[in-house]
């Protein structure tokens, strides 16, 4: 997919809550001491945080870097699987808190872990068509795994926001092209009214994550006439550290190109925030002219693949908000009891 008029990122920002729980602490709780753990630690939202407040934090940093009048934003789309309200768009609260005007389109998107990049695609379309001057896409989650389930070790909180506008000297990177691949694959789901998701164990790997990520990435490369060697950096959805590294290997991309955006070991799987936070962390270190491959994955299942070319404005806008590594460094450990209290896991 290539927009008719080229579109770029005017501003970006990310946010990770201050609290962490070590995977070994979750293992201790459930008698899993000494077993191999998928990550080191994961980010835990504080007791007064939710997906909407995380989206607000990411969005305010994106606006800080964008340096635009918030009233010129015509759309706020938030991708998430942990919406505080089942009915009431989270974007209404984020827009109001940021002083974005009311002449606004707002909706919450749902596509498991790729809801954030779904929002990228619509924002690109709205801006390219001229229906909106600027449009904001946010991927954010306070993901929860069922206590003792293997997902509990990784399901984490965080998010990132991107303001899209027509490509100009003000954009920090532009979209070279994008591609989406979607099939009916029930690897992971959550039925209406259920507090925790269900998943199909090992089925989440080969026919789900790898098939969609690899296919979307290859389709994009074919469409743009590019090979893996043409990308300076790559970001994949990160449900654990193993999957993105293996996906890169399958595509012929060296692991070093993943490093800046590979955050899962330190913050966990932030679901809809995962690949968007990886992109933000990569923009924190990329140089003008660099080409970034980004591929999301959402269970159910699908992948969005994007190629971004970094522009000169990155140098000037990058210092206007904290880099992702500042949030990773800011941490307070909690034990399982505090984590259970913060995230409402105790019955009363």
């Amino acid at each position: 997919m290539k927009p008719i008029r080229p579109v770029g990122i005017v501003g970006y920002g990310g946010y990770v809550p201050a609290y962490r729980i070590k995977a070994s602490e979750i293992g201790r709780m459930w008698g899993n001491d000494g077993c191999a753990l998928p990550i080191i630690e994961k980010a835990v939202a504080g007791p007064d945080e939710d997906m909407t407040t995380i989206a607000y934090e990411a969005a305010r940093y994106a606006l800080q870097r964008a340096g635009i009048d918030p009233h010129e934003i015509g759309a706020v789309f938030i991708g998430s699987e942990s919406k505080p309200y089942a009915v009431k768009p989270s974007g209404t609260i984020v827009a109001e808190a940021l002083g974005i005007g009311s002449q606004l389109l707002a909706a919450d998107y749902e596509f498991a872990c790729k809801a954030g990049t779904e929002a990228f695609q619509t924002c690109i379309g709205l801006v390219s068509s001229g229906m909106a001057k600027y449009a904001m896409a946010i991927g954010a989650d306070t993901a929860q795994g069922k206590p003792a389930d293997e997902l509990e070790y990784t399901a984490a909180s965080g998010g990132a926001a991107f303001v899209f506008g027509l490509k100009s000297d003000e954009t920090v990177a532009y979209v070279e092209g994008s591609c989406s691949y979607t099939t009916d694959t029930a690897d992971f789901w959550r039925r209406a009214g259920q507090p925790y998701p269900a998943h199909f164990g090992r089925f989440t790997g080969k026919p789900a994550y790898f098939r969609h990520v690899i296919t979307a990435a290859r389709m994009l490369m074919e469409e743009l006439g590019l090979g893996p060697e043409d990308f300076d950096w790559a970001v994949f959805h990160q449900p654990n550290a193993k999957f993105p590294i293996k996906a890169a290997k399958m595509l012929g991309i060296p692991t070093e190109k993943l490093e800046p955006g590979l955050l899962v070991r330190y913050i966990g799987n932030t679901y809809s925030g995962s690949s968007p936070l990886g992109l933000a962390a990569t923009l924190d270190v990329a140089r003008p002219g660099d080409r970034i491959l980004m591929v999301s994955y959402g269970s159910g299942a699908g992948s969005d693949a994007f190629s971004f070319i970094v522009q000169d404005a990155i140098e000037e806008k990058r210092p206007l908000a904290p880099p992702i590594r500042a949030f990773i460094a800011r941490k307070k450990y909690v034990d399982y009891a505090s984590y259970a209290r913060f995230r409402g896991k105790l019955l009363r």
Partner: protein, 140 residues
């Protein structure tokens, strides 16, 4: 708090909007219809600075029932960069880390949740300013 009352307070709760007296220049938060200093009714909305310094604080251990889930929590008196003083919860830090003069910034958090089916009230809270080291080639 009722839903309509909360809705009316959104500008000052979400965006730290205060009032400035057009006659004498005094700034207030929350908003006021009449200036307590000079009695003027000529007030305008003004967005206050989201940064400030902690003047004093206290740790709340006996909380009202709808805030009990957050206890113990810190309430601080904060002087914003534009000179206005606000009372706010201070989050993401242990009381032991707090001292007068600490630089804080405003963020948006849940203030109160009205049960599993009710409305969620959001509003400003303050937290220590997030600082970072610039890497080579990055300014700050």
């Amino acid at each position: 708090m009722s839903v309509p009352k909360f809705w009316r307070e959104i500008p000052h709760k979400y965006r730290l909007v205060g009032s400035r007296c057009r006659s004498c220049g005094a700034i207030y938060h929350p908003r006021r219809p009449i200036c307590p200093r000079c009695g003027s009714r000529d007030m305008e909305d003004v967005k206050l600075s989201h940064r400030g310094r902690l003047l004093a604080f206290t740790v709340i251990r006996r909380a009202p029932s709808d805030m009990a889930d957050l206890r113990p929590y810190v309430v601080g008196l904060i002087e914003l960069e534009d000179g206005v003083k606000v009372l706010s919860q201070v989050v993401d830090c242990d009381p032991a880390e707090l001292k007068p003069g600490l630089e804080l910034e405003a963020t948006l958090r849940r203030i109160r949740v009205h049960g599993p089916a009710g409305v969620i009230e959001y509003g400003y809270k303050f937290r220590p300013v997030i600082k970072w080291e610039a890497e080579a080639g990055e300014g700050q």
